[in-house]
Each structure stands twice: as C-alpha cells, then as structure tokens.
C-alpha cells in the first residue's frame, strides 16, 4: 500500500504567467512505512504538493492514488480520506479554537463520526502519545507555550488515527529542545505505530538525521528523490537551488580535500564523530 502520484500538475488560476505553474508533472510514490523528507526553497511547491495528498487542493491534471483509491474519484469518501491522511500545518497552533485542550483534540474524531466515548478515548491516547500532561487537559489552548500548543495540535490530527502523517515544517519557531522533542515523537510514531511520515522541512540537518528518503523540489518539479547520502552528495546543485547540505557534510568534504581519508558522504554528526575518530584519530 502506498500513495502514488502520477503526472500531477497544479496551476494557480490568476494570470501571472511567470508563477502560474505551482506543480509541474510530479510523479512520486510514497511507500507505506517510510519516512520521507521534502526539501526545497520557499515557493518551490512543497506545501502545494502535500496539500493535494488529502484533497485540500484540487489538481489541474494528473492522478493521486491513496492505497489504490483515486482521491478525485466520484465515489471517494473525502472525510475518510482526511482521517487516513493527516495533515499538520506549519504553525498548527493557529488552528486551535476550542475552549479547552481536550475538547480541541476531540473535535477531529467526533467530526469523523466517532461516538463521544471513542473520540474521547482516542483523544486521550493521542494527547498522551504527544507527551501532553494531564493537568493541561482543561486549560485553554491559548494559555499554553509554543511547544505545548504544537503538541496539542498534533494530537488533534493523531486522534483521527491517520495512516499517513504529513507535517509541514512542524518545528518552525521552536527552540532546539522543542525541535528535538517533536522530531523524536515523529520518529517514534513511525517505529512504534508504523505510521508513514512525510516531513516538509527547511532544516537540512533534521531531514539528514531522520528521513529514509529525501525529495528535493525546485520550481514545482521534483529534482532528486533518493536516500539522504546521495541527495547531499549533490550539494553544489542544491546550493544553486537555494538549499545546502548539513554543515557536517561540508566539514567532511574539507577534511578530504585536506588529504584525510574520511568518508565524505556522511550527513550526520554521530556518523562523522565515528568516522573521523576511526580514520584520523586512531
């Protein structure tokens, strides 16, 4: 089972010819159980792409199949689709609106048609999973800190029990500690709950560390779709697209240029520490 995108095009309806084509012949398969990172500079089409996956935006042409089902088909149940493909927006805390945290999280599953009891059980489990403490349940969402709000908003999506979880820059504006907590939570959802993760990010360091595969977008097209090592090996091309490799990749390249026999395809600090220690320091 997977999400399959075939020749997807999306054009804005306004008549500015330069920026009209937001998505240009996108073909992509997102396999069940993978952790896919999507990178690209602002305006490259990342968010537009992911908003197609649960039917928030309607394609101009092409096809999107979720577990084999055409999401634009007449018989497609959109409500069911949106619980299967959960989308956490950038700044999800802007979507919190209920009087207290618990009601806010319950809104999604209730709206899906779950009974009150089921919705509450799901919501409780989702809040726990996201590490939201019990004593926050009846506080107003507006009183929480940035990191807490973000976890509550994520719980709201998780309570609908999605199989595919899309996160559009979930760590923007969080401190490094909060960033790590959210990313660890996402990676746990993948490992323990077997959720498929699609992470849109501006942090090369984060996708290098967490994603199994990276899709690079530029001007509405997919330019690379590969494992992190191979993607970041093309760092010169990435730079031309307004991106770059993680800092540690550059260190490895420079060490190699300086004549040290290190592996310059490395993309995370942990690997680099080990490699430098074994190849140089011993």
């Amino acid at each position: 089972m997977s999400i399959v995108i075939e020749h997807l095009n999306y054009e804005y309806s306004d008549s500015n010819p330069a920026g009209r084509k937001a998505l240009d012949d996108i073909c992509l398969e997102i396999e069940e159980g993978c952790f896919m990172g999507i990178i690209g500079h602002t305006g490259s089409g990342k968010s537009t792409l992911v908003q197609h996956l649960n039917g928030l935006l309607k394609k101009t042409s092409g096809k999107i199949l979720v577990d084999g089902e055409d999401i634009d088909g007449d018989d497609c149940d959109r409500k069911a689709l949106r619980s299967r493909v959960g989308l956490v927006f950038q700044y999800p805390e802007h979507q919190l609106f209920e009087v207290d945290v618990f009601s806010d999280v319950c809104f999604g599953p209730k709206n899906m048609g779950m009974t009150k009891k089921d919705a509450e059980l799901k919501s409780y489990a989702a809040l726990k999973l996201c590490g939201v403490e019990d004593d926050l349940f009846y506080r107003s969402p507006l009183e929480l800190s940035g990191g807490q709000k973000r976890r509550v908003a994520m719980a709201g999506v998780l309570a609908m029990n999605p199989k595919y979880l899309i996160l559009d820059e979930p760590t923007a504006g969080l401190d490094p500690g909060g960033r790590k907590e959210i990313l660890n939570l996402i990676s746990r959802l993948k490992k323990e709950n077997n959720m498929t993760i699609i992470l849109v990010s501006h942090s090369m360091e984060d996708v290098a560390e967490y994603a199994d595969r990276i899709v690079v977008m530029n001007k509405g097209k997919i330019v690379f779709n590969d494992i992190p090592t191979n993607v970041f090996a093309r760092y010169k091309e990435l730079e031309n697209m307004g991106l770059k490799a993680p800092e540690v990749s550059y260190i490895m390249h420079e060490l190699k240029e300086a004549g040290f026999n290190v592996d310059d395809s490395i993309t995370t600090v942990d690997q680099a520490v080990l490699n430098i220690y074994q190849r140089i320091c011993r």
């Binding site: 602002t42 940035g146 923007a172 504006g173 490094p176 501006h202 993680p246 540690v248 550059y250």
Partner: protein, 287 residues
C-alpha cells in the same frame, strides 16, 4: 558608549478575573541588568518562554517594566514624551515579515516609517534608496512585496526600519520562517549593517550558527540571564546549553564529541576553518 541599559528590569504578566482580582502572576523577565554598547552585535538565546521576546519588547517601549528601568540612548522608556524618539532609535523586526509589510510596492513600504515621522519627501526617497541598497533589495524597489521570497521580504522589513535611521535594530527571530538561503541573506544583511554602518544589533534566534560572529551572547532561562559571554565561552558549555534546551552548531558538537573520546581538540570550536586547522595541527604530519 552605552546604548542600552536595563536596571533590575522585572516584568510580570498579571492576569485578572472579571472583578479585577489578580488570578495569576507570571514573571517573564526577572531582575535583568544589561549594558549594551553602541556598535555591538548582541545575541540573545533561550528556549521558548524564557523571556527573550518580552525583554526585547522593552527596548523600544512596547512594554514597560513592572519594576526597574530601561534606558535607551540615555532615555527612560517610561518617559512618554520620549516614546517616538526611542522607537526611532531602536527599531524592531519581527519573526513573520508578512505581519509588518503593509505597502503595495516595496519602496512605498520602506518609505512608510520616515513618512510617519514627518521626514520631508525628498529626504524620504533618498532614505528609501540607501536603505534598500544596504540590504541588497534596490533592484526590487518597484516590485510588489507579495511576489518576494521570505528572505527578500524580511530584508525589505529591515530596510523599513533602517529608513528611520535607527542606532539599533532589535531582531526577534527574523529567520525562523525562512529557508537556508533566506536565512543566510538576512544574517549577511544585518551583519553588514553592524560592521559597515556601526548599527547596534540585538539578535534573538534559535539558530546557533547565526551568532558565532556576535560580540557577546546572553542566554536566558525563566526570565533571568543565566549565561553571558563571547560565543566561544558560551558554546564551550555544551552540556549546560542542552540543559537549557539549547544546542550548539554542528561543528562545535563534532569537536565536543571527539574531545569526549579523548581527542585533544579545544572546546568552543566555532567554524569549519578552525576545526580543520585543529585537526591538521593534531594529525596533519601523518601524511
């Protein structure tokens, strides 16, 4: 010369119920004493909720101290008559450029500040030009801000502040919403303003690599200043920073981890160049 001084600055968010009784008091800034000199590049770090933004809002009199005092260029921010002078001297740039760009055309947006201050028209245009040139956005002066990238928008916002001829710019997470390129554009632009024009910079950020060139770094926790030093002094304390939910640049972390394995590399490595030269010094002769 001292530009910004806070004296025992404390700020409390006080919540009241319908009858006006105090429900809760949160001390967001707790007894902070800062002294920032003209022309310095100051960085403020701290986790979400540590009080950084609350502190920053005191610098151009958006908030006033509950206790203590703030002096900007010698003026007490509580002095209502000096309000406009203070806001002109210390400009502010926020996280989301979309919230502070109002003009339909880039040059009009940049001209809004000086126009609002009553600057004569001819001078407004010369200020607009010099500000846009300083941030490298002059060729976009006739564009609509909507069509710009995040980094470009943020540079327009900075130009808008610059056109008021401030002595100091306070930037509250100006790069949080930008891609790597946009982040670099903004940081380069503001460092240029500091180095070339001598503008005092106060940069609040969660990106550790943006502050390695700062003259001085303050780290906040629970409203207090808990660390204070040069980037090297601050980033030498990896474990303490982690306790404060912060981080260090990747190159600093790499050196720190190697050091833990017994490699004789100093703490507080800040740049790739330093790292490579230390490794060469230690192991270069092997080749």
């Amino acid at each position: 010369m001292s530009f910004l001084k806070t004296k025992d600055l404390t700020f409390e968010y006080i919540r009241r119920d319908d009858e006006g009784n105090v429900e809760s008091v949160v001390t967001a800034v707790d007894n902070v004493n800062l002294d920032v000199h003209e022309g310095q590049f100051i960085a403020i770090l701290g986790h979400n909720g540590s009080g950084k933004s609350t502190l920053a809002k005191h610098i151009n009199a958006i908030l006033y101290p509950t206790e203590g005092a703030v002096f900007v260029d010698g003026m007490d921010t509580k002095d209502k008559e000096k309000l406009w002078d203070i806001r002109q001297r210390a400009g502010m740039v926020f996280q989301n450029p979309d919230n502070q760009i109002i003009g339909q055309v880039v040059e009009e947006d940049v001209g809004f500040g000086p126009e609002n201050m009553g600057v004569p028209t001819a001078e407004i245009w010369s200020r607009v030009e010099e500000s846009l040139r300083a941030v490298g956005m002059y060729e976009y002066r006739k564009n609509s801000p909507n069509r710009l990238s995040g980094g470009q928008k943020q540079r327009v916002a900075i130009a808008g502040v610059l056109a008021m001829h401030p002595k100091c710019i306070v930037l509250d997470e100006p790069t949080a919403m930008l891609d790597p390129n946009g982040r670099q554009e903004v940081i380069r632009a503001v460092r240029g303003l500091n180095e070339v024009e001598g503008i005092t910079l106060i940069l609040i950020t969660h990106y550790m690599e943006e502050i390695v060139h700062a003259h001085r770094v303050f780290v906040m926790d629970k409203g207090r200043i808990v660390m204070d030093g040069t980037p090297r002094e601050i980033f030498s304390q990896v474990d303490k920073l982690r306790e404060l939910r912060l981080d260090v640049p990747q190159v600093t972390m790499l050196a720190h981890e190697l050091r833990k394995k017994g490699v004789d590399i100093p703490e507080g490595i800040l740049t790739r160049k330093e790292f490579i030269s230390e490794i060469k010094k230690l192991y270069g002769k092997v080749y």
